[in-house]
């Protein structure tokens, strides 16, 4: 199968998956027992007539297939509707939250990918060394421990115990920055940034370290390295050659991780009260705010699908031995 056909097939599958995924999300949310307005009748805030008006306003009185059609149409034009509880467009809630999440996670992921991959290659090269053993144990501890538990440890040590860093949010309550630049480039922001950033770096370090280490170990006995050794290259130069050949799984893994990014840190955002998309989702669920829930879950699903596609394509492109027909 040619690369073009492979690409086309994977893209089609990805598009189909997106459609099925959003349908599942739609169906799941319609299974919810009640909309948020029914509760207001019971508490006496609204009359049943007013509830009907509200339902009509939000399109909840239309037949289910009309709702479904509109829902699909709106999602793919990124029109997420209006929040049921905050009376403003869902986009206005979700987009800044998404930006906050990415500002937290992307630098952390890039940092840990670079540092731990290098450390992992070094560890694999020195198999059986003290460095290999201890780096594996340390990163396994942080990889295994749920990220919010690591976050809680950081919190009680550095915020509540030592009082060095603020415990929650993205800025102190007095700060009132204007625009993205001013928000993200300040000492105040940095102080709030440090703990969740550290927790994320520690959490992801284990996977990159193990992957890099394993793929170097797998290549240790291979002929091309023996050739390099015979050529008289130094240890470090040999490691460089082995490392370059070990990049493939790391690149793929990086793409997959980026896709999982948005859903992966819901608990972390809650621990540090980071105003990201995960925390927005939890709050929307607790408030039964469907449109916001839909939008947040849709974005998370889309991210995974797109990054999986990227990983597949990158893999096929980078590795000449992959027969695309089998993928």
């Amino acid at each position: 199968m040619s690369f073009r056909r492979f690409l086309l097939k994977r893209t089609l599958i990805a598009a189909l998956l997106t459609l099925i995924a959003v349908s599942v999300i739609f169906a799941t949310l319609r299974l919810l027992p009640a909309d948020p307005f029914s509760g207001l009748v019971a508490s006496g805030s609204l009359t049943p007539d007013e509830v009907d008006q509200m339902r009509a306003l939000y399109g909840l009185d239309e037949p289910i297939y009309v709702q479904y059609y509109k829902y699909i149409q709106n999602l793919f034009s990124f029109q997420f509707g209006i929040s049921l509880t905050q009376q403003r467009p869902v986009g206005d809630i979700i987009i800044p939250a998404l930006v906050n999440t990415m500002v937290l996670l992307l630098p952390a992921l890039v940092a840990t990918a670079i540092v731990s991959s290098l450390a992992g290659m070094y560890a694999g090269w020195n198999r059986g060394s003290w460095f290999e053993q201890s780096s594996i144990v340390v990163t396994t501890v942080f990889r295994a421990t749920p990220i919010f538990v690591t976050g809680i440890f950081l919190l009680i040590i550095f915020s509540y115990g030592l009082g060095w860093l603020p415990a929650f949010g993205m800025r102190s309550s007095l700060a009132n920055p204007d625009g993205y630049l001013e928000t993200y480039l300040s000492v105040d922001f940095l102080k709030h940034y440090l703990l969740p950033f550290t927790a994320t770096v520690l959490f992801y370090s284990g996977d990159f370290l193990m992957l890099a280490r394993n793929s170097v170990v797998e290549r240790m006995g291979s002929e091309f390295l023996m050739l390099h050794r015979a050529k008289g290259l130094s240890e470090m130069e040999q490691l460089g050659r082995a490392g370059r050949n070990s990049l493939l799984p790391l690149v793929t893994y990086f793409a997959l991780r980026t896709g999982m990014l948005f859903q992966g840190v819901i608990t972390l955002e809650v621990v540090f009260a980071w105003p990201g998309i995960g925390r927005a989702l939890v709050q929307a669920i607790l408030n039964q705010d469907y449109p916001t829930v839909q939008a947040a879950v849709f974005i998370m699903a889309l991210a995974v699908i797109i990054m999986n596609l990227t990983a597949d394509v990158a893999y096929a492109k980078l590795d000449p031995t992959v027969e695309a027909g089998d993928v």
Partner: protein, 307 residues
């Protein structure tokens, strides 16, 4: 039977015994690794608390409110009547810790084993038959990859009352894809090997070939992923409980963390935070340490000779 095999009890016990011996050998081999020893010890201790914890607890974790001089003991630091201190509702933390291991254990064990079994069967079927079956099952795994696990779990658990069993079911629904993919690719190599082909040639049926000839050769990977799935299930169960979507009737470690966090007592009550936090961290680490050591054996690529 025409295939020349028979299913008499003797050959079955014989087979089981040889499998058990293999398992025992593997375990001994895994435990030569020092960090695996530590991990194994943690798991054993955890299992012990999970089974006997509620009996060892000095008080009832929820019903007993500790009193001192006629007033409720709120947020007492460790010492005196409450060895590990009390919560802001006057509950004994040691008792909650001991009782809280059980729901964590149940979710981890059943979620992990369920994931392992479903993933193993799907991977085996998919890899063995290939073709349309494979295509269908693999697109299904793609779909569960595309549906974000934690968000979907939160949505589902917001409209059914969470119980340990529902949480376990949700975990299996979303996690089986991980072992399924790996098992499938292993099966695809194994089924090309001569002994599988010769079994087929001698007239063994598909089911027989799958389970008696192919399956034993991928069992190691299956166990490895079951072990990891136990770890993932514990993490996921604790995360859900921490977010307030756990079983409201039980005291789990995740729920203890939720309560100390929500009540704001996390600022001062380190004695309330540390037991469940260390408990969760230690157990998941233990599982992964054993898993890593096991992986060194199961993954043949890692067995390069040292020069």
């Amino acid at each position: 039977m025409s295939s020349g095999y028979s299913f008499d009890p003797e050959s079955i016990t014989e087979r089981l015994r040889s499998e058990a011996e293999r398992a025992w050998r593997t375990l001994r081999f895994v435990l030569r690794d020092n960090s695996a020893k530590v991990g194994f010890a943690i798991i054993v201790a955890f299992g012990f608390i999970g089974v006997f914890g509620p009996m060892l607890a000095p008080y009832h974790p929820i019903e007993d409110t500790l009193q001192q001089g006629g007033s409720m003991m709120r947020l007492q630091p460790p010492g005196g009547k409450a060895v590990l201190g009390t919560t802001s509702f006057g509950k004994d933390i040691l008792s909650q810790f001991l009782a809280g291991a059980r729901p964590t254990l149940i979710v981890g064990l059943f979620g992990g084993v369920g994931t392992g079994v479903v993933g193993f069967l799907v991977g085996l079927t998919s890899g063995y038959f290939g073709g349309r079956v494979d295509e269908f099952l693999m697109r299904l795994t793609d779909l569960t990859f595309a549906l974000p696990f934690l968000p979907m779990a939160l949505v589902i658990l917001s409209f059914v009352t969470p119980s340990i069993w529902i949480i376990t079911a949700v975990l299996v629904t979303f996690l089986w894809k991980m072992p399924a993919r790996v098992i499938r690719s292993e099966v695809m190599t194994v089924k090309e090997r001569t002994f599988v082909k010769s079994a087929r040639a001698r007239g063994a049926g598909h089911l027989r070939t799958m389970f008696l000839h192919v399956a034993p050769n991928v069992l190691g990977i299956g166990f490895l992923y079951t072990a990891y799935a136990v770890g993932w299930s514990i993490v996921a169960g604790a995360s859900l409980a921490f977010l307030g979507f756990g079983d409201p009737t039980t005291t789990s470690w995740g729920r203890m963390l939720e309560q100390v966090f929500r009540s704001g007592a996390i600022r001062v009550a380190w004695w309330w935070v540390l037991p469940p936090a260390i408990g969760i961290g230690a157990v998941t680490t233990g599982v992964f340490l054993v898993g890593r050591a096991f992986e060194e054996i199961v993954n043949p690529d890692l067995q390069t000779d040292q020069e």
